[in-house]
């Protein structure tokens, strides 16, 4: 956004290197440098976007149009009971994962920033470790925990004589995604919590605010940008992640799995394409809504996927 404004407004003092650097990093220097050079520098980026995003998207969209039902295929996701159920399930699960991750990490992140104790760095490292795990590994770990040979199964078998197994359905996926989301959210919460001014809380308390009010009026608003941006990333990842689901079971009805089975097993290219576009559009819509509500300040770029 600031880049765009600079390009429109800028028309003085062409001091090449510093102004380019300033623009790329979005500093609000009153315009400098020539827009033509800047545009040239952007070309490689534009080419990559065109080659790996716009063209495939167009092809996918055309596949839908060429399918047996034409553009009506887009509505199949709403009319076909199975697809619709999978859509709802994906949405509910992603929202649930996001909510749980925000609550858990909001508390942990705040605690870790506020308190200095032995082993604090260790806990932070442990909590942020899954950042480096591929979705498949996370799926495998969920199986080790809650699968047929898993730790929870063995324990419940020993205590109650009945194996508790929940790795191979939506609960397992929920656990996996939650685990996967924790590092992203916790890092964002910690970054926001570092910036909280302790004097704001002291001011609120001096005005008579009890703890719950301080949390509601000072701490939560302070953490909100971090919570919203990391929540959006968390949601988008859960909506689209595939590796974990694929490792757990091939019959979990979440949208990415449905797309995969439609495409590979049923060779139903048009429906797979329509579902892909629907999934992409919905995820994009959520991110756009979040951007709209919190402004552009928050960093909403999803990092890595499962």
């Amino acid at each position: 956004m600031s880049l765009l404004q600079n390009m429109k407004g800028g028309r003085s003092r062409p001091s090449f290197p510093s102004s380019i650097v300033a623009r790329i990093f979005g500093q609000a220097t009153p315009g400098a440098g020539s827009p033509a050079i800047l545009f040239l520098l952007m070309v490689p980026g534009l080419v990559i976007v065109a080659a790996f995003f716009l063209i495939p998207m167009a092809l996918v969209a055309m596949r839908v149009a060429d399918g047996p039902d034409g553009l009506a295929t887009y509505f199949v996701i709403l009319t076909n009971e199975r697809y619709f159920a999978s859509l709802v399930q994906t949405l509910v699960m992603s929202a649930g994962v996001t909510l749980c991750a925000l609550i858990l990490c909001g508390i942990c992140g705040l605690f870790l920033v506020r308190n200095r104790f032995f082993g604090r760095n260790m806990i932070t490292a442990l909590l942020t470790l899954p950042l480096s795990f591929p979705g498949t590994v996370v799926g495998f770990m969920v199986i080790m925990l809650a699968g047929r040979q898993g730790a929870i199964g063995a324990m419940t078998d020993a205590v109650f004589g009945d194996k508790l197994v929940f790795a191979y359905n939506i609960s397992g996926l929920f656990i996996g995604y939650l685990y996967f989301s924790i590092p992203r959210v916790i890092l964002a919460v910690m970054a926001s919590a570092e910036k909280l001014d302790p004097q704001l809380e002291e001011a609120a308390r001096s005005l008579g605010a009890p703890t719950w009010r301080v949390v509601k009026d000072v701490i939560l608003p302070g953490l909100m940008p971090g919570l919203i941006s990391s929540g959006a990333i968390c949601f988008a990842t859960a909506m689209g992640a595939f590796g974990t689901a694929f490792t757990l079971a091939t019959d979990i009805d979440v949208l990415p799995m449905v797309i995969y089975t439609e495409f590979t097993r049923n060779a139903n290219v048009a429906v797979a394409a329509a579902l892909s576009i629907a999934l992409g559009a919905m995820t994009w819509a959520v991110l756009a809504a979040v951007r709209f509500f919190v402004g552009n300040s928050a960093d909403l770029s999803p990092r890595g996927g499962a």
Partner: protein
């Protein structure tokens, strides 16, 4: 209406074992403005936070507001108004919402709260800013909002923690005058923390000078300025020139000069002394009247006076003011004499008792 505050035997040791404050007693009369003055790390903010209820004194300490024991009461119960150096305004609320916050928390009815907020904003001359966001305000405006927010709840004591430090010099003086007028008008008990001696003088009914966790002196601005009780206070309130001297037969000997003991000197025994004075303690003169001669190391023109840094007289360079019309260049020789009524004299060796005097004779 106004609240008297007493601190008895209050000390503060932090969790890591650091002694922030040695045990002290302090009484702040109702309606009085007291300034805690000292360099950073002297414990002045810790005292303020103790009165606020953000820190608690070590066991044995007792804090009372008008006789009510509040030692173990937390800040939200104490009804104190706080103003911080960083303003600490709620960024997610408008100016009016900030000022109304304490009233909302206390459950004041909407209509009454609106009226009170309006009155507060008018009192601080910021009624036109009511609907602004905090990030649209200048530093001076923010501190006005913070003051309005703190006094809106009619606190028992107003606590100000270096409220002007973040502002530029001109604004600092203007806002200081306004705060002074406000405190007089409200007649509220106030505790003001600063490291700025001028600010302390301008605002305080009483000044508490702090040094390394101890109270060095309590007194009116006049007492502190004219009759510092120890070298630290003398130095801190601007008498930072120091010369060695001798008390002999009730007379003060400095270099070749012999003087009747100034103000506090009668009480001193025989022996070496340290003499403290401001830039007016020595004045330039011609050679035959001079007590000292020195070399001018630096000259700064301050408008109504010329400030010289002179070396070669004491151990440390001395600051001497002179007529701004004199043409004195760095490197030139200068002669000066002592103004005995401008001196403050303490036994040598950092204010220990005169009995410990064993220093060399000049």
């Amino acid at each position: 209406m106004t609240t008297q505050i007493q601190l008895r035997d209050c000390a503060k040791t932090f969790a890591d074992g650091t002694r922030a404050l040695a045990p002290f007693d302090l009484t702040i009369e109702g309606g009085e403005t007291i300034v805690l003055l000292g360099p950073s790390g002297c414990g002045k903010t810790t005292i303020l936070r103790m009165i606020a209820g953000l820190e608690f004194p070590d066991a044995g300490g007792k804090i009372t507001f008008d006789g009510d024991d509040v030692t173990h009461q937390s800040i939200e119960k104490r009804r104190v108004g706080m103003v911080f150096q960083s303003y600490a305004l709620f960024p997610n609320m408008t100016v009016a919402q900030n000022v109304a916050y304490g009233l909302k928390v206390h459950g004041v009815a909407r209509g009454e709260s609106d009226a009170r907020v309006k009155a507060m904003l008018e009192m601080m001359h910021i009624e036109m800013l009511a609907d602004r966001a905090i990030d649209q305000l200048s530093g001076g405006q923010r501190q006005r909002v913070a003051l309005a927010r703190a006094i809106a709840v009619q606190p028992r004591v107003l606590l100000l923690d270096e409220p002007l430090t973040a502002l530029d010099a001109k604004l600092r003086v203007r806002l200081r005058t306004e705060i002074n007028a406000l405190l007089r008008k409200l007649g509220i008990t106030a505790v003001y923390v600063t490291h700025d001696q001028e600010e302390a003088m301008a605002l305080g009914d009483k000044i508490v000078v702090m040094q390394k966790g101890k109270i060095a002196q309590i007194g009116t601005p006049h007492d502190i300025y004219q009759k510092p009780q120890n070298p630290f206070v003398a130095d801190f309130v601007g008498a930072s020139n120091r010369l060695g001297g001798q008390m002999r037969d009730g007379k003060l000997h400095i270099g070749p000069g012999v003087f009747d003991g100034p103000g506090n000197a009668h009480s001193l025994h025989h022996g070496p002394v340290d003499v403290f004075f401001r830039a007016d303690g020595l004045s330039t003169c011609d050679l035959e009247n001079a007590h000292f001669s020195g070399d001018v190391a630096a000259v700064s023109y301050l408008g109504e006076r010329l400030r010289l840094t002179v070396s070669g007289i004491g151990e440390m360079p001395l600051i001497i003011d002179t007529d701004p019309d004199h043409a004195i260049a760095p490197g030139s020789k200068i002669h000066c004499r002592v103004n005995p009524d401008r001196l403050t004299v303490f036994p040598a060796d950092g204010g220990n008792s005169s009995a410990s005097a064993s220093a060399t004779v000049i």
